[in-house]
């Protein structure tokens, strides 16, 4: 990400959106910790709060999806770099191809996750677990995250075409810590 002071309003808004997604994901992560701790405490004390398992799962899905866009721009998502590196000065075309596929795939994901929320709401789907939550509620953050990822890919595609390079930083640490 560029750190110039004269960043365009659109640029600032978009980056702000991705980062907001990241922060929301981090909040979900803390919430997961609380839910799991609550689960242990309630088990030890024989109090029962139904549906904690499900809540932890919903938060997990939200934490993952909301963070996708932020993680993309910080370069955390893993890819096989050999081919792009081998392209040398023609790297642009390799990046362009990847960005087009990425945009298409993430837009597809975003579209169908919106549909999932729409139909869950329309059909009044309830969770199968003890919580009986209407499914569209926990599915909404997932759809928001998927849409953010699609926007982020489209944004990168446009930036790549216009400026010759995308907004993706390099975050070898996040990648390597997955190993």
């Amino acid at each position: 990400m560029t750190s110039r002071a004269d960043k365009h309003l659109i640029r600032r808004t978009l980056d702000g959106l991705y980062n907001a997604g990241g922060v929301a994901a981090a909040v979900c992560l803390v919430a997961i910790l609380f839910v799991i701790v609550a689960q242990m405490v309630t088990r030890w004390t024989n109090i029962s709060i139904p549906g904690l398992n499900e809540y932890a799962g919903y938060l997990m899905a939200s934490a993952s999806f909301l963070a996708f866009a932020h993680a993309l721009n910080s370069g955390s998502h893993i890819r096989v770099n050999l081919f792009i590196t081998a392209l040398g000065e023609h790297k642009f075309w390799g990046e362009l191809w990847c960005m087009i596929i990425g945009t298409a795939a993430s837009a597809y994901l975003a579209w169908y996750s919106i549909r999932l929320v729409y139909w869950s709401n329309k059909l009044g789907d309830l969770s199968q677990g003890q919580d009986a939550t209407p499914m569209w509620i926990p599915q909404t953050p997932m759809a928001v995250g998927a849409v953010l990822l699609a926007i982020c890919f489209a944004d990168n595609l446009v930036t790549l075409v216009m400026r010759g390079r995308d907004n993706i930083g390099s975050d070898a640490i996040a990648q390597s810590h997955g190993e």
């Binding site: 990241g22 981090a26 799991i36 932890a56 997990m60 932020h70 191809w97 190993e179």
Partner: protein, 437 residues
């Protein structure tokens, strides 16, 4: 031949997307989409969302971000200094001297971190400069560290084992328990190697360590006690059946926060950094898992896993031959893909094969982890090599060559594991059951 054409297209798209550098999670998604379009008339998008939602919101997956977070917190403490200071006096008298701090340090940190690269960085930050100061041969300092750091993947908690467990729907606690003895045996093998080399190598002339009294030794290692207590609680709670893997991870996070606070290295900045780091790494893995869950659905429709399992069955391979074939297969894949991606990409195909051959699926998890560990230290894309290169400034070639003996030791470990499967199967069979799951 006509029925092979769709399969050929499917595989071609797989190699094309992964090979050209499309982000792994999205590449898997794309291949799965092509597979569904070729082999079924179902509404693809809705089927995709159902399976992705189910896998992304799975409760057992929550162990993943929590264990990553725990490692991230400890990564930002003074642990690496304490580790070297605390371990060095005890290792000084062993044949091979302080090189053992690399192996033992990695073993200890592996027990609080699920990542081999984080293990490498934490231990290496302190041990590389200290060992250089004492004139230990550079290639051994680097080799043992790169090799031993892979223990991070085997000794619980292990991110690869969580991903494996979630994908094949097996108990993560059992897999964790299965990793303990093989991990310790591998560590002992690394230490034996260090001992042998120190005896037979002429260039091995490190500066001798001053003799320290027992009291000094204990005094120096008192900082290690909190970490050992933390390890005891995390692994003990799972073994004793008091907590599931996820709950143990939550205990681990809280413990790590207490430990960091006690050391004075916990402040708003490190807390936020550790949280954001964990969030990014787990998002990275979650995207791969989302793609992989759709791919395994799609794979089912292609009939590829069943056909391969039947084909392998018809060859009449012995278990040993099958495992050798898989060993080679994973080493080759590991040259191009990271560990987690290669596990999730192949498991839909490999699992039926392995089950049909009557191989214990928990044991196979450990087998796959050792093999994936090897890939960490083989070029061209071993992560540990990259991290090591960044830390020491050596050429990739040098690092890879320094780590090669460790690669061979891991190959030996695979055979040990095949010869003594009880190493991995005994402990999980003896866990106590209190908690559900």
């Amino acid at each position: 031949m006509a029925e092979f054409i769709p399969i050929a297209i499917f595989l071609f798209v797989l190699f094309l997307l992964l090979g050209t550098g499309v982000w792994v999670g999205l590449a898997l998604l794309g291949v799965a989409f092509v597979g569904m379009e070729l082999f079924t008339s179902r509404p693809v998008g809705d089927a995709m969302m159902t399976i992705i939602w189910r896998s992304a919101s799975s409760w057992s997956l929550t162990a993943l971000p929590l264990f990553i977070w725990m490692g991230e917190i400890l990564f930002r403490t003074r642990l690496s200094e304490d580790m070297f200071k605390g371990l060095a006096p005890w290792m000084a008298r062993l044949p091979g001297g302080l090189l053992h701090t690399n192996v033992v340090g990695c073993t200890v940190f592996a027990a609080v971190s699920g990542s081999s690269a984080a293990t490498l960085t934490t231990v290496g930050k302190m041990s590389i400069p200290e060992l250089r100061k004492r004139n230990y041969p550079e290639h051994l300092v680097i080799g043992t560290l790169a090799g031993a750091a892979t223990l991070g993947l085997m000794i619980p908690p292990s991110l690869t084992l969580i991903v494996y467990g979630v994908t094949i729907n097996e108990s993560i606690t059992k897999l964790f328990m299965a990793g303990i003895f093989p991990g310790l045996v591998l560590a002992l093998m690394f230490m034996a190697y260090v001992g042998l080399v120190s005896r037979f190598s002429r260039s091995y002339k490190p500066d001798p360590e001053p003799v320290t009294s027992l009291i000094d030794k204990v005094k120096n290692s008192r900082f290690l006690i909190p970490v050992l207590v933390l390890i005891f609680f995390v692994i003990g709670s799972m073994y004793g059946g008091f907590a599931t893997a996820t709950e143990a991870a939550a205990i681990g996070v809280l413990g790590a926060l207490v430990l960091a606070a006690g050391q004075g290295s916990l402040n708003i900045k490190t807390f936020v950094e550790s949280l954001m780091g964990a969030m990014r790494t787990s998002a990275m893995i979650a995207l791969i898992l989302a793609g992989a869950s759709f791919l395994s659905l799609s794979m089912g429709f292609t009939g590829l896993p069943r056909a391969l399992a039947e084909w392998i069955g018809s060859l009449g391979l012995t278990r040993f031959e099958l495992l050798m074939a898989l060993l080679v297969f994973y080493i080759v894949i590991g040259c191009f893909l990271d560990g987690i991606s290669s596990v999730v990409l192949t498991i839909a195909v490999v699992e039926p094969m392995v089950r049909q051959a009557g191989i214990d699926i928990i044991w196979f998890g450990i087998f796959i982890v050792v093999v994936v560990e090897m890939a960490q230290i083989t070029p061209p894309i071993g992560f540990n090599l990259f991290v090591m290169q960044g830390m020491t400034g050596h050429e990739m070639n040098f690092v890879a060559r320094a780590a090669f003996p460790m690669f061979l030791i891991m190959v030996v470990m695979v055979f040990v594991l095949i010869a003594f499967p009880e190493l991995a199967t005994w402990l999980p069979a003896n866990i106590r059951q209190h908690a559900g799951g």
